[in-house]
């Protein structure tokens, strides 16, 4: 019998260890995708719930072959199974759905999907971010006590231990150690949801550690930027670049011949402005080169088209040293702190209104637009990177929803909207009061809310104290003249968990 067939048989007979022994000794490049898939199946079956190692190993073997095994039920089921026991229920559901598509009606798959939906509906994360950090800070303080406070490299050691610990728990967070260990700079990454998490980490630092280092959220602007930037071992001279800043917050980056990778430009902007200011201002960028003046095309930006001569355009430009001041003079809001940035919100309006929870919204405001965008554009089984990352880190993203007695979108809509806002504000206040009694007000971040045809909404991120928050909300609604109240996570597939329904 060939090795692959033998492994299948061992797996079928639940002799998983034999599969591992037979396949692990082969060098990786000697194993076929089918063998890796059988080995992953064995790991999946050897793993115990809570033991992430085996499931992680299985996943690492499987993920490179998604295209190779396209449409293969067993492959999707194995991937989903690994994700499920890694407590990645959103991703597990996505792959179980693929498995079901490949084998319609499969009862095992349907059962697993239901289990995923139940867990995503509850929204109760296995270990909340608050619990993760409690354990982490406690361990860190314990670890730090081992070191001599008077030693020369004490601060650096403390910073190293803390930074490594943060990287261990939150794998996507990059930590930079600055000022000989006196400052830990947490990179904001590519989404505002990270800034919420980073601010929460900062808020939970115990006083004993706070005395030793300061945490900064987002990469800070640099003071001495050099003309030469290095990217992938290549040097790029940025002194030739010119920047045009328009009155309507657009920046045109000009070079006679544009051969600098966008990654270098990105790094330059981070160095000039810092991550938080870049996020807060949402600059609009465009790129121009000599050809845009000599032979403009439809891709040439409008501002450049307004200039007949390149020289006239360049007169209005600055080099990178002058860009920050020029941006400031054009009204960009610079020097925003991460905390201030988190409070900034924007409005949105929706057109296709339906009579369903969250689908009835016609107007809303939010401090986390990417979360709302992801929710609006996602299907029930889609991968949701922002939600998945929050869930992975122990943060629940969702919304309270309530339908007021006698209230609906009629001709007295202003009154209706005012009442919704009023309840939202009261609910926030009530929950914060309850959390204040526990000293846990930081465990929830309110993200603004929305008004729908049938319901009002208050959006939130919960970092900890989940039951306390939900109990408080339940108590609040019980005393109100409300027809329907509950909460739902920001996933189309999750169901409304009701506090009250008349």
């Amino acid at each position: 019998m060939e090795l692959l067939e033998q492994c299948k048989e061992w797996n079928d007979n639940e002799e998983y260890k034999k599969v591992v022994d037979a396949l692990e000794i082969l060098p990786e490049n000697a194993r076929t995708p089918e063998m890796d898939s059988e080995l992953a199946r064995a790991y999946n079956n050897l793993g115990e719930p809570g033991d992430y190692k085996m499931f992680g190993q299985a996943l690492r073997l499987l993920l490179p072959y998604e295209e190779y095994f396209r449409g293969n039920h067993r492959y999707y089921f194995r991937v989903a199974y690994s994700y499920f026991y890694l407590d990645e229920h959103g991703l597990a559901l996505h792959y179980f759905k693929q498995a079901l598509d490949a084998r319609p009606g499969d009862e095992d798959t349907i059962d697993m999907m239901n289990e995923c939906v139940n867990r995503l509906t509850d929204g109760v994360v296995e270990v909340s971010m608050s619990q993760k950090l409690d354990f982490f800070w406690e361990d860190t303080q314990e670890e730090i006590r081992k070191y001599d406070k008077n030693s020369k490299d004490y601060h650096e050691k403390v910073a190293d231990i803390t930074a490594d610990g943060i990287r261990d728990i939150f794998q996507k967070i990059n930590v930079n150690i600055l000022s000989d260990g006196r400052i830990l700079e947490l990179e904001a990454g590519d989404d505002k949801s990270n800034v919420f998490m980073l601010e929460y980490i900062k808020d939970t630092v115990p006083d004993t550690l706070r005395k030793l280092f300061d945490i900064k959220v987002g990469i800070s602007p640099k003071e001495n930027i050099k003309d030469i930037m290095i990217y992938e071992d290549e040097e790029y001279d940025i002194s030739e670049l010119r920047f045009f800043v328009s009155d309507d917050r657009q920046i045109i980056i000009y070079a006679d011949e544009f051969d600098i990778p966008l990654e270098v430009i990105e790094q330059l902007f981070i160095d000039i402005f810092g991550e938080i200011d870049l996020m807060a201002n949402d600059f609009e960028f465009d790129i121009a080169d000599e050809d845009d003046f000599n032979a403009p095309t439809e891709d040439t930006c409008k501002i450049v088209l307004d200039y007949n001569e390149k020289e006239d355009f360049l007169k209005e430009c600055v080099d990178y040293n002058g860009l920050r001041d020029r941006a400031k003079s054009k009204g960009f809001r610079l020097g925003t702190s991460a905390k201030e940035y988190l409070k900034m919100y924007s409005g949105y309006q929706l057109q296709s209104i339906e009579e369903d929870i969250r689908e009835d919204i016609y107007i809303g405001t939010t401090c986390l637009p990417s979360l709302i965008s992801e929710y609006i554009s996602s299907g029930p089984f889609d991968i949701m990177p922002i939600m998945d990352e929050l869930y992975r880190n122990g943060v629940m993203a969702g919304f309270f929803c309530f339908s007021i007695e006698g209230g609906e979108l009629t001709n007295s809509s202003l009154e209706y909207e005012f009442e919704i806002m009023n309840i939202r504000n009261q609910l926030m206040e009530y929950i914060l009061n309850e959390l204040d009694k526990l000293g846990k007000t930081k465990d929830i971040a309110f993200l603004e809310g929305a008004t729908g045809k049938i319901c009002g909404y208050l959006d939130f991120l919960i970092f900890g104290s989940f039951m306390d928050i939900m109990n408080a909300a339940c108590e609040f609604f019980e005393e109100k003249n409300i027809k329907l109240a509950g909460y739902k996570t920001f996933r189309k597939i999750s169901k409304l968990v009701t506090f009250k329904e008349e």
């Binding site: 319609p104 989404d191 981070i270 949402d282 637009p369």
Partner: protein, 431 residues
């Protein structure tokens, strides 16, 4: 790295590209037959078991006669779902239709019930499609017609049976359709495909094409779709499709529809306004790169800007995979040609034959054949006798009018001309 150029942090972005519909993502087919009317699927399980290379693992059926099947076909596992549903004749209105025999069409008009069979294609989508047709004929040997919902196409039951019984998987253009939407005011056409999403690739489109040139530009979109499917490779950067008459290469690239429409006037046919309820999922619009510099700098040329060049005898290449498929199908169905021509003396036939070529140094090349049309004269014991219809380019020993004897092993394609039709191997069910 910070997502500086890609994402707005402070605005709610409303979706432009909608998630794919089930019938786009999976392959949905609706079967019409007399046995469907009586929901009779007795013996279907046995017939499925009897399909060549099928290993039936599970056949589950519920009381309402819906169910699922798990089987292996050519070593790959497939899951298939099925159920009975209503059929409304008017739903055929917007479909592209294969030629349906009159007597069949009269029966179709009376049907009120259909059998829906759906499955997800895997990376071997030609086999997946072929399997679906085989299953249909196994469920209902009396299949009258099949609505391929994913491709928005009505298939003749006779074609389905021919394709299912064939040893060769159906050609790529069976998997998709190219639809043309006309605007009589602007005299413009919007071409778009249906049926490709189920293979894992995107649909394709051409925008803003003049009605006068639509027939020629059809070959551009058809070639792109065929090439992607036969080569099993998406157009990541660009794809060489062929040559303009001046010898310059025809190089295609694509953009997602939501980016592409921004390059056209707002009120164009196929613009954002036409996509509020449909054509807003996984579809890419075809553009051209006219020079290498254009390709390096991502300078897109709309096909409508070079229509004159695209209608002036462009040469589109066939991929080797396409040529092979045509060849095997022509040989597989050669018996039908022989029978039809032998029984109808007024039918004429052309047969394409692959001839070994001669290189500049006089060496015979048996690998790179020149495919040339011959007119069939008669069949004989070992094969057939035929006359060359044109002068070959790279076979100096032969000229127009030369007559010779050939066998089925030389055949790479054929056409039969009846009184009112031109029939090729793929449409041999009409013979």
């Amino acid at each position: 790295m910070f997502n500086l150029f890609k994402k707005k942090q402070n605005e709610v972005e409303l979706p432009k590209v909608a998630p794919m519909e089930l019938w786009e993502e999976r392959s949905y087919m609706h079967v019409l037959s007399d046995s469907v009317d009586t929901e009779d699927i007795t013996d279907a399980k046995e017939r499925i078991k009897a399909i060549d290379e099928v290993n039936l693992i599970e056949f589950n059926q519920k009381d309402d006669k819906s169910g699922n099947i798990i089987l292996e076909y050519k070593g790959e596992e497939y899951g298939i779902g099925f159920y009975f549903g209503d059929f409304v004749f008017d739903s055929l209105y917007s479909l592209q239709k294969q030629k349906i025999h009159d007597e069949d069409f009269k029966k179709i008009e009376k049907k009120t019930k259909s059998f829906i069979i759906y499955m997800k294609f895997n990376k071997n989508y030609f086999d997946s499609y072929h399997l679906q047709l085989k299953l249909i004929t196994a469920f209902f040997p009396d299949t009258l017609a099949v609505i391929d919902e994913s491709a928005e196409k009505l298939l003749s039951g006779r074609w389905v049976k021919l394709a299912a019984d064939s040893r060769v998987a159906p050609s790529a253009d069976s998997i998709f359709t190219v639809q043309a939407v006309y605007d009589d005011k602007t005299k413009k056409v919007w071409f778009h495909t249906h049926g490709i999403c189920r293979t894992g690739f995107s649909e394709f489109e051409l925008l803003d094409i003049s009605q006068d040139n639509a027939n020629d530009l059809y070959y551009l979109i058809n070639t792109v779709a065929n090439r992607v499917l036969y080569q099993n490779e998406a157009i990541d950067d660009y794809m060489f499709l062929g040559e303009f008459v001046d010898g310059n290469m025809i190089v295609a690239t694509t953009l997602p529809w939501n980016e592409a429409v921004c390059k056209y006037p707002k009120d164009i046919l196929g613009g954002a306004a036409d996509r509020e309820c449909s054509h807003n999922t996984n579809s890419r619009v075809i553009f051209l790169y006219l020079t290498e510099d254009d390709a390096n700098n991502k300078r897109y040329t709309k096909p409508s800007e070079v229509e004159e060049r695209l209608i002036n005898n462009p040469l589109y290449y066939y991929s080797n995979e396409q040529t092979e498929n045509m060849k095997f199908m022509a040989r597989d169905r050669f018996g039908l040609l022989k029978e039809a021509v032998s029984n109808n003396h007024d039918y004429t036939a052309l047969i394409k034959i692959g001839l070994p070529t001669t290189d500049e140094e006089g060496n015979i090349d048996y690998e790179n054949l020149e495919h040339i049309w011959f007119e069939l004269k008669e069949f004989n014991e070992d094969g057939f006798r035929a006359v060359l219809t044109q002068n070959p380019y790279r076979v100096p020993s032969m000229k127009e009018g030369d007559e010779g004897e050939y066998t089925i092993c030389d055949v790479t394609d054929w056409i039969v001309y009846t009184d009112d039709m031109r029939i090729e191997p793929n449409t041999a069910y009409l013979l």
